[in-house]
């Protein structure tokens, strides 16, 4: 598997464990060869461009769809076969936070109450009050940010152990985005809550998340704690080098050349580089973009670019 690292969460069962997981729609694979573990108690970011497979992975995890290949286990259970046992423990907010537009806020909460045995009505009402939303107002009349918050309240009020959010802040303005993330993070501070949130916006990730999964073109590119990502990736710059020499440098994620200079973004992992290279730290956004550009460049040149211990990037 390319660039994967499996992280165990303190010996307890992982929140999500995928094994060779794949999903195909017609001829096209939306997700394939996905093998990973997401630890309990962390906030994991699922990052990648649109169509990378983020929504597919989340939908497989919550049982909205079934795998074409492989399997996925959530909290040790099968999302489809053990739905009855699992659903009360998992909160899910789908893309565009679907809600019943014709219902009032109060009626929406009532829906949650009626079909969730573990519903905490005091919590739900408290949240709505904190948000300052009038209970009698029709959901269709709320702003995008308010609707997202209502959808989040619905998911949180059943007191789940795991919260899955599919692009929750994609269509929100910056203030609404911040408030939404605040709510999610406060919930993690209050209870033992695992969060997996998918996003194609990279900016907030470093502060909000402690674990990272990069998906691109239906495959996982990287699975790792964010601290480790930052500690293990470096930018090497040096005088223009010819490709043969680069072949000796392991785990190059991205390379670029100017007339005089070569830059390599590498996964360092304690390797020593000769003195012709200068090392720089790289921020998370750069690293993620490098991984995302990684596959595309490979596709364009026709060469495979899988970074594993032995493989090497050819330009």
């Amino acid at each position: 598997m390319s660039g994967l690292e499996v992280v165990q969460g303190g010996g307890s069962a992982p929140a999500v464990a995928a094994d060779g997981l794949g999903k195909r729609y017609g001829a096209k694979w939306a997700l394939r060869n996905c093998t990973l573990e997401i630890p309990v108690g962390a906030v994991t970011a699922l990052v990648g461009p649109n169509g990378a497979g983020k929504t597919t992975l989340l939908q497989l995890a919550v049982g909205l769809t079934v795998p074409t290949a492989g399997e996925v286990r959530v909290l040790g259970l099968s999302p489809r076969h053990d739905a009855h046992a699992l659903l009360p423990r998992v909160g899910f907010v789908a893309q565009e936070h679907p809600l019943y537009r014709g219902l009032s806020v109060a009626e929406t909460l009532k829906v949650g109450k009626r079909i969730n045995p573990g519903w905490d009505n005091d919590f739900a009402l408290g949240r709505i009050e904190q948000l300052g939303l009038p209970l009698g107002l029709k959901v269709g009349k709320l702003s995008g940010g308010q609707q997202a918050q209502v959808a989040l309240t619905l998911a949180l009020a059943k007191r789940p152990e795991l919260l899955l959010l599919d692009e929750p802040v994609a269509s929100l303005d910056p203030l609404a985005r911040r408030e939404f993330l605040q709510t999610v993070l406060e919930a993690t501070a209050e209870t033992e809550l695992t969060v997996i949130l998918s996003s194609h916006i990279i900016a907030d990730l470093e502060r909000v998340c402690d674990h990272l999964i990069i998906l691109s073109q239906a495959e996982t590119q990287l699975v790792s704690p964010i601290d480790e990502v930052l500690a293990s990736h470096r930018l090497l710059t040096g005088p223009r080098t010819d490709p043969a020499t680069i072949a000796r440098v392991n785990r190059v994620i991205r390379e670029s050349h100017t007339e005089r200079q070569t830059s390599l973004l590498v996964r360092a992992d304690g390797h020593a580089y000769d003195s012709s290279w200068e090392l720089h730290e790289v921020d998370l956004e750069e690293i993620v973009l490098a991984y995302l550009g990684h596959r595309r460049a490979g596709a364009a040149t026709g060469a495979t670019q899988r970074s594993s211990d032995r493989d090497v990037v050819r330009s």
Partner: protein, 262 residues
Amino acid sequence: MTWVAWRLQRTETLIALALLVLIGAVLLPTGIEMSHAFDRDHLSLCLGHRPSGACNNAIEGFLSRFNSLGDLLAWFTLLPGLLGVILAAPFLLELEQGTYRLAWTQSITRGRWIAAKLGLPLAVALLVAGAYILVGTWWREPFVRMNGRMDTATYDSEGIVALGYTLFAFGLALVVGVLWRKAVAAVTVAFVGYVVARVFVDTWLRDRLVTPLKLSWNPAAGQPAALDHARILSEGGKILLGGGRLIRQGGRSRSPVTPAAR
């Protein structure tokens, strides 16, 4: 979940009930009037006998008064179709708006959800259709006693036939809506499809379901008893000298007493 399903189909249920009230408002007064007219003129006594002058006039009078109403109300046989597609709408809206993704990730299983989201509207549709059938059957009673049940409008609005239509329309709306995820458009297309299917069955398919019976008779002898409650596909024939008159052909069966020309 039951409350949830009810609340989400509230509008459509109200529409169905409104339609029923409308039907009732039209059928009840006129039905009572017809029933009185039938009894008052003792038309039941005229049935099945050789025509007499008084009976001829009475029936003639009754028909001229209420036949056009009967024609108009023949359109009501589209009601079951309307009920079926309208009550499929809540389910289709879930697909269109993606709210099924919300519903399926609460704590109930998909099966339970589908059972409630399909079962409840279908039950309402069938109940309202059933009420319509009862009222309609009562209303048509005089006609049925005169013309039999094989008349298209009668056949379509009595017994379990209308329930079948409701089911068909409901199912058709579901199929269209699943393929084309726009609820309003799907409901419209399904209703049009329903009408087309009905027209096809009524005007073409039915006539070919069974080999028709062919009869010839001397007009002077009067129509054979076998034709009493028959659906007549076509008529024609030679006019014998000194005989009766040509009977106009059409889908409506005629009174067995008077071979009246229109």
